[in-house]
Amino acid sequence: MTAGKHYKVAIAGNPNSGKTTIFNQLTGSRQHVGNWPGKTVACEQGCYEHDAHSFDVIDLPGAYSLAAYSDEENVARSYLLEESPDLVVIALDATNLERHLYLVIQILETGIPAVLALNMSDLADKQGQLIDVQNLEEQLGGVPVIRVAANKGEGIQTLKQAITDQIIIARANGYSRTEGLELKYGVEVEREIARLRPQLEQAQELPSKFRSRWLALEMLANGRQLIEKMDSKAPDGIVRNITDSKERLQAALPEGIEFHVADVRFAEVGRLSDQILAFDRGAESAFSDQLDRIVTHPVLGIPIFLAIMYFIFRLVVNVSAPYLDWIDAVVSGPLTAWSAAALSALAAPAWLKALIVEGVIAGVGGVLVFMPGLIVLFVFIALLEDSGYLSRAAFVMNRFLSFLGLNGRSFVPLILGFGCAVPAIYATRTLENRRDRLLTALMVPLMSCSARLPVYVLFGIALFGRRADQVIWVLYALGVAAAILVGWVFSRTVLKTGGRTEFVMELPRYRLPTLSGLWAHVSVRTRDFIEGAGTVILLASIIVWILLQFPLGATSIEDSVFGRASAAVAPVFEPAGFGTWEASASLMSGLVAKEVVVSTMSEIYLGSPLETLDPEPQFIQQLTGIGAGFVSANVDAGREVLETLTPGITIFPEPADAQARETALSSVLTRVFTPAAGLAFLVYVLLYTPCIATLSVIRSEFGGRWALFSALYQSGIAWVAATVVFQIGSLLG
């Protein structure tokens, strides 16, 4: 845009105020939205244009206040202090305004231009909550308050206009002179503020968009960060004066200045909400209370949680199986044949043809086959997040986590670990101390992530047939048990409790998940998975293929570089029952990403499909075959859903050919693995070294030593557990 300017806008707000939804509506992007405190733990950035100006928008992590208790709250605070954006959009939950006004007051006091986005105002209307928006604007000194229903996109245009207008007004007036909300903190505090203000106004090092009054208060109440920043550059006098002022206040306010300031602010919150809210929430969400009484019940709570998880995993496995057959048939049949034919038609050299068919299609295709099951898993994780149940589960599980010196807040990262360990480890930033964070992060990789699911499904269906879902459920449970055991051991050895950590958590209101919200989740995660398949897994498949071809004269892949290296490692796994070079090769390549175990297996075992292919593919016939296969997969999946939803009732009698469900790879596996060895292999895959992406996150968050520690201890327990499973399994036959 030509004459337009470039502005920085930050979105701040309490957890669960809909910041991310507003961010998505402003910028048109699709970030995850979750109904649990602490979903955005790092800044998310996007941009949009309005009135020929362009706006960079930052979605800050949710914070209850500008004081920083956890790493994620520190992100929000530091951003406001150091980046000083042109404007802050403060997202508020209109159905719970009183709780959210505290942060509003804090931000308005800073003097940064702001716009209030009164989110979920449609919901508030429905609940009969009248909010006097005009009065609120007046009380806050003319700050625009925009009614928004971000999940429906209502009010977003008005919000954009208000943002632009406010920035222009603030620019015209000069930021530092922006009028704003001013609270009085009592004689003693005001005296010290008055004393510090003139000096602070002189200090050039401080961000100019903040009012000197706020800076003074901040220095007195909570200013370590600001004082440190000034320490190097500021004229000597200031820092000493601040320390003196603080000492005087210590004497005058025995309860502590921080508490005093918070009290005054909450008194203002109380006053504001009395004036602008016409109805108290008298008949407050009776339904929500009823539901809470059941799901957080001291006895019923845990069985309910376990039942929900069992139901989810059962559905994931049963729904994915029919599609698995179908996609597998398409990939290993027509797709391979067509690409081989197309490559021949293009006169591609033989090695390229082999690379694409044996390497890329077998490798990447072998993983993409698992998309349907993963989509189902992603839908359920999204449902758990969006509905607000996750926080209730954390409440219920607090009891167990307290044995480990952790508290319920650690539970949310652990559950997210079922999706992917990387975001789960980031989510530990919501925890308040480093020891809790580290212990949780070491436990997260044991929660079986979605990348391991393809391995389970493949082996489960091949070796255990209709009992596959139970086997997979046991694996998930085993992962959880291992996490608890490991947590228990570590909390008594390397990571002793550094004193009790208090457990304080807000339980967000239940929300009916919206289709668009679910779609946002599922599409992002699915895209990540496909991107992973197109990059990491593609690359790994090609490298594995190349390693399998060298040295060039080798008669069989066993004599290749990769084959020999794996054969050297294989004896290690002999006691666990899978001491073949193929198994070791898959496990080694699985360090890149756990899905690669499957892709390597399909490259090794199905290495040369070219020889067995029909030379004259019947194009039309195959096309109708694909269509018919898809239809019957849908029917099968639908049947499985109904069966799972009605436990104990057989709606559809088992079709006669149900046992015949077999993919090309699974028929090979039945020959190579005994059930005991297969189970031991799965246990090993469940527990062994986290993938490279996870290790690098542990490294960046906690340092290389902990990443190494995580890698080593996990391969250790994996080997032991796999060996135990195999030995016991063999004894039992």
């Binding site: 209850y64 206040s65 004081a67 208790y69 719970n96 305004l97 009183e98 709780r99 505290y102 009248l130 006097d132 009065n135 007046e138 009380q139 609270l183 009085k184 009592g186 025995p254 309860e255 502590g256 921080e258 508490f259 005093h260 918070a262 009290d263 005054v264 909450f266 008194a267 203002e268 919150v269 109380g270 006053r271 009395d274 004036q275 602008i276 016409a278 109805f279 108290d280 929430r281 407050e284 209370d289 809470d292 009484r293 957080t296 019940h297 001291p298 409440f395 219920v396 607090n398 009891r399 307290s402 508290n407 319920g408 009790r500 208090e502 457990f503 304080v504 958590m505 807000e506 339980l507």
Partner: protein
């Protein structure tokens, strides 16, 4: 006077008024900033053995562990004590808004007597607590 007790002794279903923190300076700040200030009405929604306590404070639900609850001093809300003790909210619930006129408890900007009113209120709270 009504009886002062600790929050972990309050049975489920009861409503109490927050008085202050006991021997717990830093840990209280987080709670303070989540709205647990002296004078606030707390409704205990759940208090089952072995579980954290579930509260309703300022319209939102908070879960806090028992050790922390032990450090929060509260008093029972008695009939008739409400008006003096409970601050603005109870004053309004007890019909105060009808005196001030206007619908639904809105006193309006013009009736506010300036920041001094606020100050005296918060100082009152302090005296209560210390």
């Amino acid at each position: 006077m009504s009886k002062a007790m600790r929050l972990d002794q309050v049975p489920a279903g009861a409503e109490v008024r927050m008085l202050g923190f006991v021997r717990c300076r830093r840990c209280g700040l987080r709670l303070t900033e989540m709205g647990l200030t002296p004078g606030t009405t707390i409704k205990v929604l759940q208090a089952s053995r072995g579980q954290p306590i579930l509260l309703r404070v300022r319209g939102s639900q908070l879960a806090i562990d028992r050790e922390t609850a032990q450090k929060i001093e509260v008093e029972q809300i008695e009939e008739g004590m409400q008006i003096q003790n409970q601050g603005r909210r109870a004053w309004r619930r007890a019909g105060g808004h009808r005196r001030a006129g206007g619908r639904g408890g809105r006193r309006g900007w013009k009736h506010w007597r300036g920041p001094g009113e606020l100050l005296s209120e918060s100082e009152g709270d302090q005296r209560d607590r210390w």
